[in-house]
Amino acid sequence: MSKFNVLHHELVPEHHVVEIKEEEKVLNALGITKDSLPKISRNDAALKTLEEMHGKIEAGRIIKIVRKSSTLGFTEYYRVVSNEVFK
């Protein structure tokens, strides 16, 4: 790993891995299926750093992102890990 921690950068919001048993609850609350969630590619820098802490994160897992927002205080956003590579 490189010498800096991606997650500590100002531009990077909080990333959390959603437990598999929690996933259904999240999707029900949003009223959508997994494939209509926004995606995060499997080689995403922030995801790679998360993997350093949690071990391998498979495609299809949901990542919860807590954003600092100037209009809403904090917002929760969800992304699903996709198989595509960041270009």
């Binding site: 010498k3 995403d44 904090f74």
Partner: protein, 513 residues
């Protein structure tokens, strides 16, 4: 603890995998004690990790399971080999120098940090504000932090009764102003950004208050952002130093010199001697001092070049370089190549300028951008430093950071021109551009080109291509969007058009005569 990095062939790695543990003989001397090592196949990325249980001198009688070729010198006993996620050799350091490539073997230390969790935003907020924000949350609306603080101030100054009234009014007002279901937010965002966009100066080049660093602003910059260009026309970085260094002028100027890319032509004269077929590189003393380069640095840099013989004349303070082949063409080619040889600095950064802020701290602005390498410097604050290259931010810091970068850059560009655009519109654009996990442009190549509906794509650009392709592939269109419904002449799925009304007919009441 140093690790051993070996360059090897795929075939050899396969052999090691089959016969483990094994004695592996190599034709170079390795001194020292190693517990683990890495194998690279292409000099740049490391794909395998090995556990080493011993290194000894080569002896002929030793039972060897694997041999490379003749002239063997060292035996490495490999007890385990495993595949790892590819890592770059740049993550390794030899002393203070970063490893660039491994040609045979290298003794290097892996630089790493312990990854710690990001501090949660909510932990930075004082308790009363948090409670207030939660209270609003329960009522179904959300307010930002600064509004919460202001409300709490109001409670202090104007009393609880007034405060309660304000809170209640706020909740009803926010609810009233929320976007209705099926409202066409995209169109509204497009107009809200497009209209002020017409007010922008067509071409603005602004010297953002800094000497010689020129930044594209105005409409060209806004177009650049939504087009998601691979590299912006004027990439610049804003580098913050760690809080303990940021007020120190001498450290700042040292960092400036460290990152500024210095090539031979910047600090030396090159003389061509046609008779002897040599090039004489004469460093200029003042420039050496100014850029903090020494003669051994130059010799070191020359030493990494191929196809030349170096004859240092340190007493005279110059270096003579001779191409290995005697020809005028080669001599000229060598001279041209050496001119741009990087001696020190970070590639991509052409200039760096430091500037003092009002609070006495220093910020470095650069021309050219290389986020990853700058963030790895010891003095640089790796949590605030950023670049205006959005795609680069996406590569180094991830998609969410890129989304924030789009938002910040667009907002800054508009504010610079004195235009007020509601942030929510820009957020929508940023969210759409980052939806697929990588940055997509707004337009044919990106968002509009990837719509699921055939007719919507055909209506946008290159009609025949999309229709023909859809015909060949047998695509179907579920007519859920706006454009496709207009084409077939149906009500669009927006606003009232999205709602199906069923008339429940009661028995007609008897008419009163």
């Amino acid at each position: 603890m140093d690790s051993l990095i070996i360059k090897d062939l795929k075939a050899n790695v396969d052999k090691i995998k089959k016969q483990m543990p094994c004695n592996y003989a190599v034709d170079y001397e390795i001194r020292g004690d190693f517990k683990d090592g890495y194998i690279t196949l292409d000099k740049k990325t490391i794909k395998f990790r090995i556990s080493i249980s011993g290194i000894e001198e080569y002896r002929e009688e030793k039972d060897l399971t694997l041999k490379k070729k003749t002239g063997l010198k060292t035996i490495i006993r490999i007890s385990k080999i495993e595949d790892i996620e590819p890592i770059s050799v740049a993550e390794f350091r030899v002393g203070k120098r970063k490893l660039k490539e491994v040609t045979t073997f290298e003794k290097a230390e892996r630089t790493s940090i312990k990854i710690t969790k990001k501090r949660e935003y909510s932990s930075n907020i004082d308790k009363p504000s948090m409670e207030l924000m939660n209270k609003f949350n329960e009522k179904g609306v959300k307010i930002p932090l600064d509004s919460a603080t202001r409300l709490l101030q109001l409670k202090e100054t104007k009393g609880v009764k007034y405060y309660n009234k304000v809170v209640d009014t706020l909740v009803t007002e926010i609810k009233r102003r929320q976007v209705d279901p099926y409202e066409a937010v995209g169109i509204i965002a497009a107009q809200s950004i497009g209209e002020p966009g017409t007010q922008m100066t067509m071409r603005t080049f602004h010297f953002a208050g800094v000497r010689e660093v020129n930044v594209t602003l105005g409409l060209p910059r806004l177009i650049e952002i939504v087009d998601a260009r691979r590299t912006p026309s004027t990439p610049t970085m804003t580098i913050y130093l760690k809080s303990e260094f940021e007020k120190d002028e001498s450290i700042t100027s040292r960092v400036v010199k460290e990152i500024e890319n210095t090539s031979i032509i910047d600090i030396c004269d090159i003389e061509t001697d046609v008779e002897d077929m040599t090039l004489t590189i004469i460093p200029i003393k003042e420039r050496l001092k100014e850029r903090m380069v020494t003669l051994p640095d130059i010799i070191d840099a020359l030493g990494r070049e191929k196809g030349i013989t170096i004859l240092p004349e340190e007493s005279k303070g110059r270096v003579i370089v001779k191409p290995q082949q005697d020809s005028y063409k080669r001599l000229y080619a060598t001279q041209e190549r050496l001119k741009t040889l990087t001696i020190k600095g970070i590639s991509g950064i052409k200039r760096a300028i430091s500037r003092k802020q009002n609070d006495g701290s220093w910020i470095i602005y650069t021309q050219g951008s290389n986020l990853k390498e700058v963030l790895e410097l010891d003095e640089v604050d790796s949590s605030r430093t950023f670049t205006n290259d959005i795609v680069e931010i996406g590569q180094v810091l991830g998609i969410e950071a890129a989304r924030n970068a789009i938002l910040n850059e667009a907002r800054r560009t508009l504010e610079e021109q004195g235009l007020e655009v509601d942030q929510r519109h820009l957020m929508l654009v940023a969210d759409m551009m980052s939806f697929e996990g990588s940055i997509r442009a707004v337009g044919r190549q990106g968002i509009s080109g990837k719509k699921s509906s055939v007719l919507a794509r055909a209506a946008f650009e290159i009609t025949t291509k999309h229709l023909l392709r859809a015909g060949l592939m047998g695509e179907s269109d579920s007519l859920t969007g706006v454009a496709e419904n207009i084409i077939v002449g149906q009500p669009i799925t927006l606003g009232t058009g999205a709602i199906h009304l069923v008339y429940k007919r009661n028995e007609p009441a008897k008419q009163v005569q």
